[in-house]
């Protein structure tokens, strides 16, 4: 899970130009912090699907799954485990 977390953080910091001074914590809301806007959000979905080979369903696009590095990490881990046991 720490590897997933690190990959997500690297992608978000590089792709959405998060400066070191922004001090984004793993629990910070990406939307409330202004890190990701509506276009950035669909870029993030595309990244998740391509990088982790998962399908993000429409009904899964909720803050509880996607709005922080913590939530993203848990969500991706859950999807990968579900795929592995399927």
């Amino acid at each position: 899970m720490s590897d997933i977390r690190q990959q997500l953080r690297s992608y978000i910091e590089e792709n959405f130009i998060v400066s070191a001074s922004a001090s984004l914590t793993d629990s910070d809301s990406l939307l409330d912090k202004g890190v990701v806007d509506s276009t950035g959000f669909i870029e993030l979905i595309t990244y998740l699907e391509e990088r982790f080979a998962i399908e993000v369903r429409d009904d899964e696009m909720i803050p509880e799954n996607l709005d922080s590095i913590d939530n993203l990490t848990t969500y991706v881990d859950r999807k990968l485990q579900a795929a592995a046991t399927a």
């Binding site: 939307l31 202004g34 509506s38 276009t39 979905i45 429409d58």
Partner: protein, 331 residues
């Protein structure tokens, strides 16, 4: 605390408002910009029709040139209704079909390339549009591409980021080429160009930078859409204008502004924006719109989110160092 919301809070004194706009437009165009008249692109919609009527009121019909700027996918009624308004106002108008120019720069081709990634069987005989979806949290929205086959069958799929951005970028050519045509005529006549956003569009960033966002004067940017309709009726514009629902007239399938951008009909968006601008509590907006408080809170959050994410559209080119220039006379 400012006045509470009431169903009449968006009512305006139309005569007083028209006099106010008259005076300001004359000051801006004739004294500050020192131009002889104005160009107005007429889509047949309520915003451009009201702006044209206000321009005639302020400058007289001899100093207003209307432009009808259809392209291959414009609704058939757009140019037709624009012409009806121009004739009613008694202004000179020209039709400039921008379809060939859009073809030349690859507007349709670039858009269709992106659509084919999502729907490989798509051909130019199909129609398409983008709709907004999701919205369980402000900003946590996504976009779907809706296509219609020649036999009328509708299909929709979620748009990946790259294809969404390419479709929007390609269709933005429409607004930008229209604006290029407006400035051609403005330069030739030494006129100013009128921009037609209402307050919802201006505040929430619903315009294309360098396209419909570009203008010399924006006479109704301070008015809520409901108030623009009040002016339309007061100015006795055609019933088809006064009763029309706002559309984007940008995609080949009919598309309402609410399904592409705002997520709510304009009447409700007006109330939400008014309440937000007057610092009304969430409970009051919820009661006004007959929505749960959680939904009203999301609307407020979405208003703020759109303001943040579209701030750059309003921003003029930024300089590395300030450069002193003379200000406009009377500015």
């Amino acid at each position: 605390m400012p006045a509470e919301y009431s169903p009449h809070c968006l009512d305006i004194d139309c005569d007083a408002e028209i006099s106010h706009i008259d005076l300001r437009m004359q000051e801006i165009v004739l004294q500050q910009l020192r131009r002889r008249g104005v160009i107005i692109a007429m889509s047949g919609g309520v915003d451009s029709s009201v702006c044209a009527a206000l321009a005639v009121h302020a400058f007289g019909r001899e100093r207003v040139l209307g432009l009808l700027l259809p392209e291959h996918e414009s609704a058939g009624t757009s140019a037709q209704l624009g012409q009806v308004v121009a004739e009613q106002l008694g202004i000179e108008f020209l039709t400039e079909h921008i379809g060939p120019a859009l073809e030349a720069v690859g507007c349709y081709r670039r858009r269709d390339e992106a659509i084919k990634v999502v729907f490989p069987e798509y051909t130019s005989a199909w129609k398409s549009k983008i709709i907004i979806a999701g919205g369980s949290h402000a900003g946590m929205t996504f976009f779907k591409l809706v296509v219609q086959t020649p036999n009328g069958e509708l299909q929709e799929k979620r748009l990946p980021a790259k294809q969404y951005l390419q479709i929007v970028a390609a269709t933005n050519y429409k607004q930008r080429l229209r604006k290029a045509m407006e400035y051609y005529h403005a330069d030739r006549l030494h006129y100013s160009v009128i921009g037609t956003p209402n307050r919802l569009e201006y505040d929430q960033g619903f315009f294309v930078k360098g396209g419909d966002g570009l203008a010399d004067v924006k006479p109704i940017a301070h008015l809520y859409k409901t108030q623009v309709y009040q002016l339309a009726r007061h100015l006795r514009l055609p019933a088809d204008v006064c009763n029309a629902r706002p559309t984007t007239d940008t995609y080949s399938l009919a598309q309402g502004q609410d399904e592409f951008y705002f997520g709510l009909p304009y009447e409700k968006m007006d109330v939400a924006l008014w309440c937000h601008n007057h610092h009304r509590p969430v409970e009051e907006l919820a009661a006004a719109l007959e929505l749960p408080e959680t939904a009203a809170a999301r609307i407020y959050a979405d208003i703020e989110s759109k303001r943040r994410t579209t701030a750059y559209l309003h921003t003029p080119p930024l300089l590395i160092e300030p450069v002193d220039l003379p200000k406009l006379a009377g500015a």
